[in-house]
């Protein structure tokens, strides 16, 4: 009897903690929804921050993430291909482990690194520095997904390609990548979802700007950095704007995240 009782208690505690996890998610999402909707207005997409809107910030964040992806995705994929397809001996495994460590490295440290090697020599913050910081965050994530997706491709496919006389390069691009395409795409979407909400690496690399700007050589508007400054503002109107911005950011992140998962589920 006692054993059964303990069993019941522990199992209900476990269920309770799962409920608690859901409660936290629900609490955060409801807060965001209520606060976000109440200060949400379509004029936010038309005006820049200086006029009480978010247009420049949203466009700026997209440009930063876009640039980081243009650099980070190909580099990460090619490095992942090297680790899985080309590497011999211990070296690829060392790179794999280092890349995993880099993935968990504090993002603020990456910001400090980019500050030391880009911002200090150039003398001021710039959009480029922000994009570089984000791409450094992105590379290890893309490496790890490419690596694990390629590992799922059966060896026989590669052997068949080679038996037909295709070069290794051809086999990788026409057979291996093609069959791992869906998984890699999901991984890339999740990587984008992860860095689009990053604030710490941008704080002192791109900083943020109240004005619309396409000039990547100077301080660049960033949605996340502006949320941080707005949320700590004494004025209630700024804080409302921060809530609206957080709402938009979270919807964006969750949308990218869920569509990534949806692609995989559909293919399966």
């Amino acid at each position: 009897m006692k054993r059964l009782l303990i069993n019941k208690i522990v199992l209900s505690l476990c269920t309770l903690s799962a409920i608690l996890g859901i409660v936290f998610l629900g609490w955060i999402l409801t807060t965001l929804f209520i606060k976000g909707i109440s200060s949400f207005h379509f004029s936010l997409f038309v005006n820049d921050l200086i006029n009480g809107g978010l247009r420049n910030l949203i466009i700026g964040q997209f440009i930063l993430v876009g640039l980081a992806s243009i650099v980070g995705i190909p580099l990460g994929m090619i490095a992942g291909i090297y680790i899985r397809e080309y590497g011999r001996g211990k070296y690829p495994n060392i790179i794999r482990n280092l890349s995993d460590i880099m993935m968990s490295a504090p993002s603020i440290v990456i910001g400090a690194f980019v500050y030391a090697v880009v911002v200090v020599p150039s003398g001021h913050t710039s959009g480029f520095a922000g994009a570089i910081a984000l791409s450094i965050m992105m590379i290890p994530i893309v490496i790890s997904t490419t690596d694990s997706m390629l590992s799922l491709v059966p060896k026989e496919l590669r052997e068949a390609g080679i038996a037909l006389g295709a070069s290794k390069y051809k086999v990788i691009f026409d057979i291996v990548i093609r069959s791992a395409k869906v998984g890699i795409m999901t991984g890339i979407l999740l990587a984008i979802a992860r860095i689009i909400g990053e604030t710490a690496p941008l704080l002192f690399t791109s900083q943020t700007s109240n004005y619309f700007s396409l000039d990547l050589t100077h301080a660049f508007p960033s949605l996340t950095v502006s949320i941080y400054t707005l949320a700590n503002d004494v004025e209630a109107s700024s804080r409302d704007l921060a809530w609206a911005a957080s709402f938009i950011l979270t919807v964006l992140v969750l949308f990218i995240n869920l569509s990534g998962k949806f692609i995989t589920r559909n293919k399966k």
């Binding site: 059964l4 903690s17 955060i28 690829p92 995993d100 968990s104 992860r194 604030t199 950011l249 992140v253």
Partner: protein
């Protein structure tokens, strides 16, 4: 083509190594002035950005009399006395220096991480057990997906929610300040919760069904199977996941920046405000210069080494990835 691509792929893989070494070296160089100035005492010194007079007490007295003299100087205007206070001012300037010590942010980082772990560990284990063993497959999928969504929410959102909604509740329950070590640690705990739960569930799922079934066949209850079969089997993975989450919590910036209070002051109670390394960097990087800047890089260096050590420890001892 083949050869070129092989070279390119080798190059981009090596880029990871180069970036990591680059981070190490550039942080070290930028921290060098502070390192040579304060040495290892930096880590144990609780004072940050404080002007300290390193002259004898008599000099200080002199300085005080100077102030009085200065007053009289104004009255006398261009008298001979004017030259003397000028000289002395120069003297006092050269005998003060600004001292930076990293103890407060280091302690703040470690304590907030411990609070986060203490809070999230039991809940994460509960969630993992629920997902792996209790819930039917479809419910487990839905709840698991929801927990993963929690992990996807940007940390700055956790910070805002924590500051305006969670912290008042915690302050009501435990008293003290709304921005404190405790609230920062708890929100940090909520943040690493999904991460820890997901890896723990994955390692629990590696337990072979045969082992579980034989235990059930012996009449064990579900709890006994979890305690005596699944936990021992997946122990290594679970410890690895805990240490990995610890590494995450160490470097988390934005959520903590909202909540820890950002004061360079050692906390006496859990509900006191203090500061952590990432927050010190985030809030002071913009205004710092000279030795202050270098000290911030020293802190960044300490954080990098700390998280590097923690993560590689978890990787190499507990979560060793197989080649294939």
């Amino acid at each position: 083509m083949e050869k070129i691509f092989q070279k390119i792929s080798f190059g981009s893989a090596t880029l990871v190594l180069i970036i990591l070494i680059g981070i190490f070296i550039s942080l070290f160089i930028a921290a060098k002035p502070a390192m040579s100035e304060f040495g290892f005492n930096f880590i144990t010194n609780p004072v940050w950005n404080k002007e300290v007079v390193i002259a004898s007490p008599t000099n200080q007295v002199k300085q005080n009399t100077n102030v009085n003299q200065d007053d009289s100087v104004v009255e006398n205007d261009f008298s001979d006395d004017d030259v003397i206070p000028m000289d002395d001012e120069l003297n006092t300037n050269s005998t003060t220096k600004t001292i930076y010590g990293g103890l407060v942010p280091i302690i703040g980082t470690i304590l907030s991480t411990i609070i986060a772990l203490a809070f999230s560990l039991p809940i994460a284990m509960g969630i993992a057990v629920f997902l792996a063993e209790i819930a039917p497959t479809n419910i487990s999928k839905i709840v698991g997906g929801a927990i993963e969504l929690l992990a996807a929410i940007p940390s700055i959102i956790f910070g805002m929610w924590g500051l305006y909604y969670f912290a008042p509740l915690v302050a009501d329950l435990f008293g003290g300040f709304q921005v404190s070590l405790l609230t920062a640690g708890l929100v940090l705990g909520v943040m690493i919760l999904p991460f820890m739960a997901a890896i723990t569930r994955d390692s629990m799922n590696t337990t072979p069904d045969v082992l579980k079934e034989s235990a059930y066949a012996l009449g064990a209850t579900k709890f006994e199977v979890i305690k005596d079969v699944i936990f021992p089997y997946s122990k290594v993975g679970i410890i690895g996941s805990i240490i990995l989450s610890l590494g995450r919590a160490l470097g988390e910036t934005m959520a903590v920046a909202f909540l820890i209070g950002s004061i360079f002051q050692l906390p006496h109670k859990l509900t006191d405000p203090t500061i952590s390394i990432p927050v010190a960097l985030a809030n002071n990087f913009g205004e710092a210069s000279g030795l202050g800047m270098s000290s911030l890089f020293y802190l960044a260096f300490v954080l990098f080494i700390l998280s590097f050590a923690v993560i590689s420890f978890a990787k190499f001892y507990f979560l060793r990835k197989e080649n294939a």
